[in-house]
Structure formats: structure tokens, C-alpha cells
Amino acid sequence: MILNLCWNCGQPPEGVHFCGHCGSLQAPVVDYFAYLGLPQKLQIDRQDLERRFYELSRRLHPDRFFRRPERERQLSEDATAWLNDAYRTLKDPVARAEYLLGLHGLDKTEQKSSNVPPELLEEVFELNMALEEIRSGDESARPQIEAARKKFAGMLEDLHGSLETCFAEWDGGGRREALEKIYGLLNRRNYLRNLLREAQGAEP
């Protein structure tokens, strides 16, 4: 563990944003949830989040540190960038979940969207066939693509429902299985979105 000491007074800062002893601004060292004073939960009250963001912005923004020494101005820029990145991530449910997964070692970059989920194999095969036909000028596959688009859109909607259930499951018990389910769902979501985009792209 890295011992984190206040750059100004040399004591452990005992505060997330400012040193509890000398009051000076600290470099951001905690995750997005902690920085906004929130537990690592996936169901978030948007209004509460916004209120926290505004309140911290008022205290951390470079405009407030304008007449302070260079070092503090730099810290304020880093702190505000961290706050802004945190707010942007947590405000979006999918980005929020992906971030939490990352904190638990389930990195988004390791998801392979090229792996077709087995239950979708047939649909993907049919869609590709139909897309091929359209590309070669055969319009008869048009209704098939429209049907596929509708189907994928419906699946995506169902998936969002499942995601919400899993969010509640994680928030209720903090069990790793819930995170792994979310991981699988997000993987599938990426895949579905790509399919949907392809089907939409073929529309006249």
C-alpha cells in the first residue's frame, strides 16, 4: 500500500478532496464512486449525483484556484478533470457498470465482441446472408432485414431489463456472480448493438 501524505503538511490527509489538517487540495487518489462520496452501487439517484457534482465543482474548479500558487492550480485542474470524468461515467448506467467491472478486474478491453454468443448464431448467419443479397442488388431480402432489425431491437430492450435486475442484485448483496452476469450482458449488448447497426445501415 502506498502511504498517501498531504503534500503541504506531510500528514495523512484524512479527507478525499482536501487535507483534514491544513485544508489544502489533494490529488485525486480514490475511485469515481468514492470521489463523489458514493458507495459502489449501480442504481444511482441522478439528481443526487448532479447535486454532488455541482457542489464539488464549486470547490474544486480551476476558477476557484486562480489566485493560488502554480502547484495548487495544477492540483485543481487534475482534481476537476477527475471529478468531470467521474460524473460523466457515473451518470451513464452502462459506463457506470463498465467502470465498476473494471474496478473488480473485469476489463472491458478483454471482452471479445467478435465471439458470437451461441444463442445468436443462427440469427447472425441469416442476417449476413440477407445483407449479402442486398449488397448484390437483390431487394427481396429487405423484409428479412427489417424483421431482424425488429428482433434485435426487442432483444436489446429485454437485455436492458435484465441489466436492471442484475444492478439491483449487485446493490443488494455485492456478490461477484452479479458482476459476472452483468459482464456477460454487456458483452452481449455490444454484440447486439453492432448487429442492429448493420441492419439499420442496410436500410434504404
Binding site: 485544508g23 455541482y54 474548479h61 476557484r64 476537476t80 460523466r88
Partner: protein
């Protein structure tokens, strides 16, 4: 723990910071007094400084109203709308260069170089002359030096255009404390009343650029939700349409191709702009152009004008729709619409905005002044006068890096609140590889060549390691000005990695430094020139006075030697007059002054005697 610690500025003196609207057509400077922002006027009481820079016959560079004179008499010695060239390469601006009377020097690929009189200036240097003029006006107002400023830029300006604006400030001797987006600045001025809450759309159509910003106002916080625009769309385009029509008319009516005549084109441009302005209040007007004894008069009805400009107005709508979508709101969620920029005086634009947003737009604030006023408010926020307000702006364009096959990997998405950062890890592909080249681009397209190239960063001196072992974390930070900086760290050694930046467009730091020095030297030369001109005026006066005095009775009352001394001194002054040295001229003025002293006394005596003649002593 409380916030008392960081906002206690009580004992420090407040900085003098001005707010500057550096516009395509006009510029203004403002400041924040204890209650409200105010525009600073020049010695003639004028608020608006035309964004024009010109070279006088003696080589002196002038900006503002004096340069407008130059533009209308010797157009190729004046530069206008230079904002359109900021942060651009010559290939970006071929179309406008055809219309400008000024010439571009060769070697303008990464920075445009403009020939102005006997000098070659880059757009930041030209803008710096406008800024210096504004600085001068502010200094005259305050009676003290002004060195700090907040400058506004179009929200849709990219990194290079922002950097160019900052460079202009530095060259002008101004520390640019913050670049603020124009529509956001306008919202600051508009929403100064802290009770204002809700969602506001700011539609800003100026001389050369269009911006749309959507903001959420909440307890003094101005949060930009989304912005969009076109840095190549504005009143200039309308002027060019009208000029084109008039030129065609003239070709058939006068049988003359005026395009070859820069003075004619500039005067026609003025005539067209005046007609455009009149059409905002009248339903019908005419373009009136008298030139070299010939008259051109063309009736222009608003209906026809509307048809002409419809495509330009139409081009503003897609950015509006995109901004509403990006803000993740609906048009109905927008509570108020604010109009900014001179072009929003055009009735068709007001109508179009009203239809688009389903609201009657606000027009209480002067669209020419509101941006400068907002810049002054931001200056007030920085100096601590306005502590309860805070502006949270966004970056208008996504930032990405070029990856394999030219595909862009986006690191910071458009409309992210700034400062914003992203960290990306890079590794080597070959054993012992010493450097990694990173190409940073800005834009929304998938492929790098379709985006705007910002810079190439060379990560150098990577410790020798087998391929794939090095792990270099690169941090991209867009600061509160919307300007990118890059830092890199090799993870294994923890060593801060040196990053060499090659900006794709714009000036390097060394070039800016050189320009600052040159501008100081030029200021010295300009100062010398002015001194010389003033000394010569003075010399003319004293020589003329001396000659006149020689015809006076008093001349004959001088001794022979005195007369000889006066003649010698005036001859010497005539010789010194042509030397390019104002001190020499001054010295000889002083000598002639000394030599003519007794002559002057004699004349005074004579004058007194004249005046008293025939009067009794008691009457004096």
C-alpha cells in the same frame, strides 16, 4: 474540513482583468465593475473596434478604425476577417483567399503568412495588433497597464484555433487567463441574474462563425450540456453572396470586371453590407454604389434576400438538432433561447430560430456586445468579484488517436465537461524500440484523414526492452480553455517520458517567443517612426514660423550675427529633417528655437507696443 480554506482572497488586491471579444468583424473590450460588466469606449466614445489591421505608408501598423481607412483606400495594405485564418493551413482557406484583397506568402502550409506592407505576418500576429489596440483603449480608460485578459473564441474552435488565439494574446503582451466560448460568455451576461434557472439555448451567428450551445442554469452554475457549430459560416458568407450578384450586374451594366479592382470591391462590399443592415428593418432597400462617376443602384427586396440566404440559414439547423440530441433533451425542454451575433438581427434568422425551438428568442441584450460583457463576467469570476458563479464548459470535438489502418480511437468524446482527461497505454512493437509516434486528431469521423490533425507526439528515449514489454501511459488533458496537453510515463521505470510535440497547424512555442520579441522590436520601430513623424511635424511648424518672422519688422532689428545664427540653425534643421533620426531633428529644433529666441522677444515687444499704441498708461 470546510471550503473556508480555499476561497479566502480577502486580503489580496484584485487583479485588473479585462474581457475581450475578438470577433471576425468587430472586437470589443469590457471589464467588470463591482456590479455589472461594462464595455470600455475609446477616446471618441466608440465601443466597437473593427477587426482590421493595416499598414500606413510609413510602414506603421495600425488596427481598428484607422485600419478601416486603409482598407477602403489601399485594400492590399489591410487585413480583415483574419479570424477565419486562425489555426489554419493555406489549403484550408483557398476559397476565402480568393476574396481577400491581401496576399499570402509562399510557405503557408502549416501557418498562413500574410503580406502586409513590407512585413509578413501570421494570423496570430495580425490578431495581436487588434488585441494591442483593445489593450491600449483599456489602458487609456484605467490609466494603468492592462496585462491580463479573458478572450472569447467560437465554441466550435478546435485546438489549433484556440492555441492560435492564445498565441495572439501572448504576442500582444496579454496573459490570456482563460479562453471562453462565445455562446457561453453570452449566457453569463444574460444569466447574470442568479435567480435564472432552467435550460437555455444560445444561437450565435457572427461575422464568420456559427455556434449553438445548450446550457443548464442552476444556482449560479452554468453547465454546458452540448455545443455544436460551424467555424465557417456567418455574415461574411451573406456579404459574399450579395457581392457576387452586384459584380455580375456591374459586368453587364458597366461592362467592367470589378474583381480586378480591389478598391472598387472593398467599396462595393461596404455598400452591400449597408444594404444588408437596412433590410433588417425595411422590407425593401437598394444597394447603392457610386464609383468613379458611375452609379449602380439595385433594388433588393427582403423576400428575395430571404430566398438568397435561405441555404445559409438552413446550414445552422443541423448543428442545432445535433446539439439538442447530444444534450439528451428534447426541444420542448428548452426554456429560453438567446440570440447572439450581429447576423441574428436578420428577420429570417429570428423566424427560423423561433420555429426550430418553438420559442420566441430573447433579443433584449445587444447581440454585438453580449459576448464581451460575458467575457468580463468570467474575468470577474477569476478575479474573485463574482464568487457565486461558475461556468462548466465542454469540449466541442472528440479527441482521438490514429491506430492501425488509420482508424481513430476516441479518447475524449465531444461535449465532455472540461477539464477532461484520458489515459492510454502504449507499448513497443519491436525489440529495443526507442520511440513511439502518436498522431492526435480531433473530429467525429471514423478515419484519421477525415478528422483534423492536431499534432504528432513523439515519445522518446524509451529504455531498451523486448517488444511489448514497455508500458507507457500517456495522459491527455484538455484544460479549461479547451486546449490539449500530453504527459507520458513509462510504467516500469516510473520515469516521466519526454514528449516532443509537432503541431500540425500553428506555431511552435519558439516561434511564438520569437514573435513576442519581434513585436517588441517592431513596437520600438513603430515608436521610432511615430517619434520621427511627430518631430518632422514640429520642424515644419517652426520652420514656417521662422520664415514668416523673417518678413516681420522685428527681423531687421536683430544684429547681423543673430540673423546669421537663425539662418544657420534653420538650414541645419532642414538637413537634419531628412535623416531617419527623430533625436537629431529634435536637437536642431531646439537649436533653432534658441537662435530665434531674441527674434521672438522682439516680435512680442513689437506686438505689445502695437497693442498699447495710443493708450494711456492708466488704460493698460
Amino acid at each position: 474540513m470546510s471550503s473556508v480554506f480555499q476561497i479566502d482572497f480577502g486580503d489580496q488586491p484584485q487583479d485588473l482583468i479585462v474581457g475581450i471579444d475578438l470577433g471576425t468583424t468587430n472586437s470589443l473590450v469590457a471589464y467588470m465593475d463591482s456590479v455589472r460588466p461594462r464595455i470600455i469606449t475609446d477616446q471618441d466614445g466608440e465601443k466597437i473596434v473593427p477587426s482590421i489591421v493595416g499598414a500606413l505608408p510609413n510602414g506603421e501598423i495600425v488596427a481598428g478604425r484607422a485600419a478601416l481607412e486603409v482598407l477602403l483606400t489601399v485594400p492590399d495594405r489591410a487585413v480583415y476577417s483574419v479570424k477565419r485564418l486562425m489555426g489554419k493551413g493555406v489549403s484550408d482557406v483557398q476559397d476565402e483567399l480568393k476574396l481577400f484583397p491581401y496576399h499570402v506568402a509562399p510557405d503557408s502550409e502549416t501557418v498562413i503568412k500574410i503580406e502586409l506592407g513590407d512585413r509578413v505576418l501570421t494570423p496570430p500576429e495580425v490578431s495581436a495588433h487588434i488585441l494591442k489596440r483593445l489593450k491600449q483603449i483599456a489602458e487609456a480608460h484605467f490609466g494603468q497597464p492592462v496585462t491580463k485578459a479573458v478572450i472569447t473564441v467560437p465554441a466550435y474552435f478546435n485546438d489549433a484555433q484556440r492555441q492560435a488565439t492564445k498565441d495572439a494574446g501572448r504576442i500582444a503582451g496579454l496573459e490570456v487567463l482563460r479562453l471562453v466560448n462565445e455562446p457561453t460568455a453570452a449566457s453569463l451576461a444574460y444569466g447574470l441574474d442568479k435567480r435564472k434557472q432552467g435550460t437555455v439555448a444560445v444561437y450565435d451567428l457572427g461575422g464568420g462563425t456559427f455556434d449553438i450551445s445548450i446550457l443548464k442554469l442552476h444556482d449560479g452554475i452554468f453547465e454546458v450540456l452540448a455545443t455544436n457549430g460551424d467555424t465557417h459560416l456567418g455574415g461574411d458568407d451573406i456579404d459574399n453572396l450579395l457581392i457576387q450578384i452586384a459584380l455580375e450586374d456591374l459586368a453587364s451594366e458597366w461592362g467592367e470586371d470589378l474583381t480586378k479592382d480591389p478598391v472598387g470591391v472593398q467599396l462595393l462590399r461596404r455598400a452591400v453590407i449597408e444594404a444588408k443592415h437596412r433590410l433588417s428593418t425595411e422590407l425593401e432597400t437598394s444597394i447603392e454604389f457610386d464609383y468613379r462617376g458611375r452609379q449602380y443602384n439595385r433594388v433588393l427586396e427582403r423576400a428575395l434576400f430571404n430566398r438568397l440566404i435561405a441555404p445559409i440559414v438552413e446550414r445552422t439547423l443541423e448543428p442545432c438538432r445535433q446539439a439538442v440530441e447530444d444534450a439528451k433533451i428534447g426541444v420542448r425542454d428548452i426554456d429560453e433561447v438567446v440570440l447572439v451575433g450581429g447576423s441574428t438581427r436578420i428577420p429570417l434568422i429570428r423566424e427560423t430560430v423561433q420555429v426550430m425551438f418553438q420559442k420566441k428568442p430573447h433579443t433584449e441584450l445587444n447581440p454585438d456586445e453580449v459576448v464581451a460583457l460575458g467575457a468580463a463576467v468570467q474575468a470577474g469570476i477569476l478575479s474573485g468579484v463574482q464568487q457565486d458563479m461558475l461556468l462548466l464548459d465542454v469540449t466541442p470535438l472528440s479527441l482521438g488517436i490514429e491506430t492501425m489502418g488509420g482508424v481513430v480511437s476516441k479518447l475524449i468524446h465531444r461535449n465532455s465537461t472540461i477539464p477532461a482527461s484520458a489515459t492510454e497505454a502504449f507499448t513497443t512493437g519491436v525489440d529495443g524500440q526507442k520511440n513511439i509516434l502518436i498522431h492526435v486528431v480531433q473530429g467525429e469521423r471514423e478515419m484519421a484523414p477525415d478528422c483534423r490533425s492536431l499534432a504528432r507526439f513523439d515519445l522518446k528515449d524509451i529504455p531498451p526492452m523486448p517488444a511489448g514489454m514497455a508500458r507507457i501511459e500517456v495522459r491527455f488533458l484538455i484544460d479549461a480553455n479547451g486546449i490539449l496537453s500530453v504527459t507520458a510515463r513509462e510504467q516500469r521505470s516510473g520515469k516521466e517520458q519526454s514528449v516532443e510535440v509537432k503541431p500540425s497547424y500553428g506555431l511552435s512555442d519558439q516561434q511564438v517567443e520569437a514573435m513576442i520579441e519581434e513585436s517588441i522590436e517592431q513596437a520600438e520601430t513603430d515608436f521610432q517612426r511615430r517619434q520621427l513623424a511627430e518631430a518632422r511635424v514640429h520642424a515644419d511648424e517652426i520652420l514656417a514660423a521662422t520664415e514668416k518672422a523673417m518678413e516681420h519688422d522685428a527681423w531687421l532689428e536683430l544684429s547681423e550675427e543673430e540673423r546669421a545664427a537663425v539662418k544657420r540653425a534653420s538650414n541645419e534643421l532642414r538637413v537634419a529633417y531628412h535623416a531617419e533620426d527623430h533625436l537629431l531633428v529634435r536637437t536642431h529644433i531646439d537649436k533653432l528655437d534658441a537662435a530665434t529666441r531674441s527674434l521672438a522677444e522682439q516680435m512680442m515687444d513689437t506686438a505689445v507696443k502695437e497693442a498699447l499704441r495710443g493708450k494711456k498708461l492708466s488704460e493698460v
